[in-house]
Symmetry: C2
Subunit: 207 residues, 2 copies
């Protein structure tokens, strides 16, 4: 792309560095911002740089936070005895959106995946063990993606927790609500038959 303005070119190149944003999209976004008032663009820029400058990670659960301890960990209304282990921040947001979980979190920062060179030492597993030993945690719920890496991680961490007095569970896996048996893959179907639940125990929603 040939630009008649170095300022424009620079802004387009910066946008094009974002994942999934090509040069054409970047140009479209920059031309959109040029049409906006100066203070609107100022606010956009400051929201981004200010966020990066001030944001930190909760020292308890490693979730994104505005302060040393995030507002989920410091919330006295949430059960401190129940901890949900997730891979990343996006999963925290997804679970929070359900409004079905009232405990606290522990963000691993990834998942055990030897093929990608991610071993247990690269994840926040040690700090989870320390939390289980020091805090009064009664139950750890694993909410990891249902795949080989997720299962490996659950297996590894639960082995490390076997001698500690804590209940270990994992979120239910099975056929998604609204799904159809006919189109469900055989692994999911086979597992959901093997892990069948008595109808009386099946909870529709906690609220």
């Amino acid at each position: 792309m040939v630009f008649s303005s170095a300022l424009l070119e620079n802004a387009v190149n910066e946008f094009a560095k974002l994942p999934g944003v090509g040069k054409k999209t970047a140009l479209r976004l920059v031309l959109h911002l040029i049409k906006q008032d100066k203070d609107v663009v100022e606010r956009f820029g400051e929201a981004i740089t200010g966020m990066r400058e001030k944001i930190c990670f909760c020292k308890v659960c490693h979730n994104i936070s505005d302060s040393e301890v995030c507002n989920i960990c410091s919330n006295p209304l949430r059960k401190s005895s129940l901890v949900c282990v997730v891979e990343n921040i996006r999963d925290v947001i997804a679970i929070e959106a359900t409004q079905q979980f009232n405990g606290r979190y522990h963000v691993l920062g990834g998942i055990i995946s030897p093929l990608d060179g991610i071993g247990p030492d690269k994840l926040y597993i040690d700090s989870l063990i320390v939390r289980v030993k020091e805090e009064e945690i009664e139950e750890i719920v694993f909410a990891l993606n249902p795949n080989i890496q997720g299962d490996t991680t659950v297996f590894y961490i639960s082995k490390m927790l076997t001698d500690l007095p804590v209940k270990i569970t994992t979120i239910a896996r099975g056929i998604a609500f609204g799904g159809e048996l006919e189109y469900t893959d055989e692994h999911t179907l086979a597992r959901s038959i093997a892990n069948r639940i008595p109808v009386g125990q099946y909870v529709i929603s906690e609220h």
Copy 2:
């Protein structure tokens, strides 16, 4: 979406205001920026706000510019007698990318479209007439999109220029290079038959 951080929420909301960027994409982009170094994000923010702060429009051709007169208009190597009329800045970038045009531009800032409430008074048509009168322009090439609005605009402006000693042309319209007759719409095909060119006059490329 529920966020544990007001800074994160603010940054996501600002990104989600951009055209074609939803909440999920905005979150992905923000989480990408959180992973980057602080000075990388600083540079991103400053490229955007600095661009909006300093950018202006060329007072001759209304193209985006870093100074009062853009570097295309002020380039002494470009033919000042040839002016290409385009709808917007994106079209300037598209034509510059071909490296086939060595004249200057005139950006209308839109196209006549009564249905969208855009009349000739909202476009930079008057300044084009002034340029034709005051500068030594020999030829005006219209490079507008080939549709009803584009044709209307060409017709309207060329009517206003009839008494002035200037040649008026339009970029060739016809079947795109690499296209197939079989799949070309009938309008394009009919027009390209009506406007057929003697083979001897057909120029493959100016360079």
